[in-house]
């Protein structure tokens, strides 16, 4: 029972408490780069999650065999292999998504989230916990960039996952789907998230005091 609790808390830690995008501020390039449409945000998030879960699992399984000194190059090879698999998979089965994401799929290799979890978590913990961590972190990342992508798509293009949402008279703010919009929307979203986190911590402090 205690172990189950543990897996759940590791999962929630990645999803909420240490959300890679909103709290740790890792993996900024895809966060700003591919979030021009809801579908590419979601696709990028899920691709990263797949790589993260697989690399976490394998690094955790191999953690007793990889010497401490060559761990970084080993991580790179393991992560790069899974990225190549995901890249080829997307090219074969989801060519539209693959061309929308462009070189950002290959660049999952250098996404700091994947690397940081390998170093900080998977190399020190059991395979089961590492999978939970990968899933939590990956889905936390997916959720965050999908929210960002939907905001940008709705206001910048008037659609949500390709479905027209705004009235015909709505003039889309084209700047939002440019890199400019990515920076500014993420900045504004962070302000909102920080405010919510402040509120939550104040509430829990009050609860403890009472």
């Amino acid at each position: 029972m205690a172990k189950k609790q543990n897996i759940l808390s590791v999962f929630l830690n990645g999803l909420v408490t240490e959300n890679p995008t909103f709290v740790l501020m890792l993996g900024l390039c895809p966060t700003v780069g591919v979030t021009t449409a809801g579908s590419s945000g979601l696709g990028m998030g899920l691709a990263t999650t797949a790589v993260l879960v697989c690399s976490n699992l394998f690094i955790s399984l191999l953690r007793n065999f990889i010497p401490e000194k060559v761990r970084i190059p080993s991580f790179i090879v393991i992560i790069a292999s899974f990225v190549t698999i995901v890249d080829l998979f997307l090219q074969a089965f989801l060519p539209d998504l693959s061309s929308a994401l462009g070189s950002f799929v290959a660049l999952i290799v250098v996404n700091c989230i994947v690397f940081a979890r390998a170093e900080a978590f998977a190399f020190k913990n059991s395979p089961l916990l590492s999978i939970a961590d990968g899933l939590g972190m990956g889905l936390g990342f997916t959720g965050a960039i999908t929210i960002l992508a939907v905001i940008r798509e709705v206001f910048g293009n008037g659609t949500c996952f390709g479905v027209s949402l705004m009235p015909a008279a709505y003039q889309p703010m084209a700047i939002l789907v440019q890199p400019v919009g990515g920076f500014i929307t993420l900045g504004l979203l962070l302000i909102v998230v920080n405010a919510l986190r402040n509120l939550a911590s104040k509430k829990s402090a009050r609860k403890e005091a009472a």
Binding site: M25, S103, A106, V110, C112, I184, L186
Partner: protein, 192 residues
């Protein structure tokens, strides 16, 4: 000669990797708090990317293409970059200790700078010759450094100004970066 100039100005202003393609944002946000560190990082990036463009072109042309291993590009390139960074670090330490002191701390961080991998992958898919490929790497890294230095100047001023509490730190910096990206967007109308 003129095509080199076009490539250089393109990567510096119109197609700037940071502002136009949003690559390399982690170091862009991470080391831009002080101008001095930004300068060190920028120089190290120029050095490594130029070298990496040269080496990955050779690897791609003589190792991957003849054996039909293009799908291994990502793995091969990231390994080349990681090894290169390590070699550069050791070589500098031994031969140019002064330069090592200036750049040393930034070198390991460059392996996970996505501009390096992005530039080399773009070069490989564009099928250029060795000289052009190396030059593209150089131009792209100068563009990265240019944006990084400008942003560091802005952030030094930003740190001194009174910001609303909820905008202090990352949110404010991101919005400042967005405003800078608007300025770079203005250059996209340039054509030769």
């Amino acid at each position: 000669m003129s095509e080199y100039l076009v490539v250089f100005i393109g990567y510096l202003l119109m197609n700037n990797y940071v502002m136009g393609q949003t690559l390399g944002l982690c170091p862009f946000m991470g080391v831009s708090k002080r101008y001095d560190t930004a300068k060190g990082m920028g120089m190290a990036v120029i050095f490594v990317i130029t070298l990496a463009s040269f080496v990955t072109w050779l690897v791609n042309e003589y190792l991957l293409l003849p054996f039909g291993l293009e799908y291994m590009q990502t793995i091969a390139f990231i390994l080349v970059i990681a090894v290169l960074v390590q070699i550069v670090e050791m070589a500098l330490k031994k031969m140019l200790p002064v330069l090592y002191q200036a750049l040393g701390v930034y070198l390991p961080l460059i392996t996970t700078n996505c501009v390096v991998l992005g530039v080399t992958l773009d070069n490989a898919s564009a099928e250029m010759n060795l000289l052009m490929s190396t030059f593209c790497g150089f131009a792209a890294s100068v563009g990265f450094t240019f944006a990084l230095l400008l942003f560091a100047c802005i952030r030094e001023k930003l740190a001194l100004s009174k910001m609303p509490k909820w905008m202090d730190g990352f949110p404010g910096a991101l919005i400042a970066a967005g405003l800078m990206a608007i300025a770079f967007k203005g250059f996209s109308g340039l054509s030769f």
